[in-house]
Amino acid sequence: MSSWLDYTINGLIVGNVYALVAVGLALIFGVSRLINFAQGSIYLVGAYIGWVAVVQLHTPLPLTIIVVAVAAAVVGLIIERFGLRPLQNSVRIAPLLATIGISFVLDQLVMLTFSPNPRALPSQLPDIRFQVGGGTIGPLDLLIAGVGLTSALLLFVFLRYTKLGWAVRATAQDRDAAMQMGVDVNRVNQAVFGIAAALGGVSGLLVGMYYNQIDTAMSLQATLKGVVAEVVGGAGNVPGAVIGSLLLGLVESYGVAMLGTSYRNLFAFLLLVVVLVLRPNGLFVSARQAPPEPLTGTFIAPSRPVHIPRWALLVAVAGFAILPLFPVSFYVLQTLINAWLLGMLALSLTLVAGTMGQVSLGHAALLAIGAYTSALLSLTLAVPVGLAVIGGGLMSAALGTLLISPSFRLRGHYVSIATLAIGEIVALVILNWESVTRGPIGISGIPPLSLFGYDLIGPTSIYWFSLAVMVVLALLQGRLLTSHLGRSFRAIRDDDIAARAYGLGLNRYKSLAFIFGGFAAGISGGIAAHLYSYINHETFNTQQSILALTVVILGGLGNVVGAILGSVALVGLPEVFRIAAEYRILIYGIVLLLLVRFRPQGLLGTV
């Protein structure tokens, strides 16, 4: 059994690795007020470049580190130049979405090049352990600590004693004033992205060596951990990011020591939520620093929604309703059923993110809550499936709103981070709460959909059922948007301070939006559970959250018809063009990037 000292050493070493990611995030946030969700992808790229260097080119360790740092920096520069610089004068949400799109593209490219199977990444260091007090430490631990300290020192010298470093600091404090001193902000951005990417890439390499394994799932994990560490330390605060990382590493390590490996991430995200709730600006942010700027108003591209006449909608619904009467294949119906289920999720997200302005990145958690509730109600309590699905919707509405409520006072990027964390927490609770959720084994033998005692087994009946549910939810939401509630939601999105001055209670309206949205998503999850008959903690993952976000942006944020159109397009078109499954996520990422660049208001316009 390892000693506490071992856990401390392990925590500090892992914290060092997080710090390399978090410092880059902090630098980027400092100069461009952007949380770079592609940071983990660069880390992934770094790990795989390291693998190529070590395993195929047999480079010596120092050379490997240099190769990885340089290659990753180049990737960072490309991202900055072609992904983000064109969006400089765009709405605030654009670069955030672009980094999400970029991360999908990069991750998929790595996966397509190297296959998703894990690979071993040997460290090239002798496998010996030195006895230190009650614990042990190995050469790799020392290497990681050394790289961490050296990077911190170099960064300090850069920021403190070089002209470009001064420019970085000045830009972080006041971008316009820095420009008026003659600072070329594009060069500052380049420098920062290059440095952040080099550090991130090296971090990926070191982690790969530490666990002697790399796989493509590393990317999202790294982004999450980096963001947690950075936000804990105070967004944009470079020394804060280092301390936040070490703290995160220690919390995780002690958490693992107490409860086991599967609790590692749970501790990380709980730390984040606690910090966001108690000190939303982080532990080490100085009180003087401007609070997170109101990201409302210009956060979402304003536009005039495309007007669709009522008869056209009626014709479209009628057309889809009578579709099964024609000789269409099972495959077409199956595809459309998926579209309707995604449509319900998109309705939920478009309300929360579009109408209310709370860009949620953890929406799949609502699916999971609905699915598990409905599955467990029907399996263990023998509740009729129809009622169980409604129970799933209600549970999702209640629990989802309850979980997100501590973050109601957050804005902009912070909402996205909080929802992402809460989504991960839900998945981790499902994984670890074995007595109820059956943990990693998942729930199998979920009864099929049934209504008033009739089983809905044929694709036609399921098709009609899911279409009807989605249409009802869409009508309800349309009604909601034209009511005074809808206007209040939009008022809060556009300017929450003004809305408050007019007497709108933010918590109440945010709760209402999440209750309605949670219900729609929970229903979707519930139906899906009975359709799949087997679910586990990975059935509803972050990829689905991002897919839903892409759908909603494609349709136009807040746009009810747009959400459904987006679902049909993103589910249907890959089928029409017979695109292989492994390319789909790549395509979603590219779609997201193109949308953000060329039509940020979506196909039908934001509402």
Binding site: W166, R169, Q173, D174, A177, A178, M179, Q180, G182, V183
Partner: protein
């Protein structure tokens, strides 16, 4: 005088600016002669600060031209414009709050590469603004408003500009510092730096300016030598309304 020096250092000609649909400037024309202090007066929302932003390239006009020393500034980025010799003292000073006073002042010399001369200029600033000497290693954000204004002016001078543009340099300062700032503007000007300043406080500005323009909802409604404007009843009515005390 020769023709060359008769040409203004800075000229805005027929500038029309829009924020979305809303027009901010209507055929705005302003010129700053070499070696002069020119003041742009106007109330809130008259388009004064936008004029500053146009000169610095932070906002682009839809039509019209901005020339500095005979060459157009349109199409240049803010850093490029700064390199042409225009320094700025922005509204509310906009210091780099977490950097030290020394670092702030030296940031003003960002476009220069002559290290020894920069060091000499830093010393010169300390004789011009003696109070800053004891404050050099302090965080800029911890200074008082008046001291911050000194830092902002020193920072602007460090680029050895041919012209300084100032946005409401006396705003929010105590009467003592207002006088000090005006005196310093005069000193700077006597050393050969042209000054374009935007002010709300007409009586103070007209004390030191050579020429002045009055901007009202985006149009120049009055202009001329400061001495004449001071006695102009229209300006007295519009801007010195509260000057019964004077």
């Amino acid at each position: 005088m020769t023709n060359a020096s008769a040409e203004p250092l800075l000229a805005l000609s027929n500038v029309n600016t829009f924020y979305g649909q809303a027009q901010v400037h209507f055929d705005l024309s302003i010129s700053v002669a070499r070696g002069h202090i020119v003041c742009l007066l106007g109330g809130n929302a008259s388009g004064k600060s936008t004029t500053m932003k146009i000169i610095l390239g932070l906002v682009k006009p839809r039509s019209g031209d901005v020339t500095f020393d005979g060459a157009s500034l349109l199409g240049l980025s803010t850093p490029q414009i700064v390199r042409r010799g225009i320094a700025s003292v922005p509204e509310a000073r906009r210091l780099f709050a977490d950097m030290s006073v020394r670092e702030n002042i030296l940031m003003g010399a960002f476009v220069r590469n002559d290290r020894e001369a920069v060091a000499q200029d830093l010393d010169r600033m300390l004789t011009l603004f003696p109070k800053l000497g004891q404050r050099l290693s302090q965080r800029a954000g911890s200074l008082s408003g008046g001291e911050q204004q000194m830092v902002a002016m020193a920072r602007a001078l460090m680029s050895r500009p041919r012209m300084i543009v100032m946005d409401e340099p006396t705003m929010g300062l105590s009467p003592l510092y207002v006088d000090r700032v005006l005196e310093l503007i005069r000193t700077i000007n006597q050393e050969g730096v042209s000054v374009f300043m935007v002010e709300q406080n007409a009586s103070l500005a007209l004390e030191i300016a050579h020429e002045a323009y009055v901007l009202q909802t985006g149009k120049i409604v009055l202009s001329g030598p400061a001495r004449t404007l001071k006695d102009d009843p229209r300006i007295r009515d519009a801007y010195l309304g509260g000057s019964e005390a004077a």
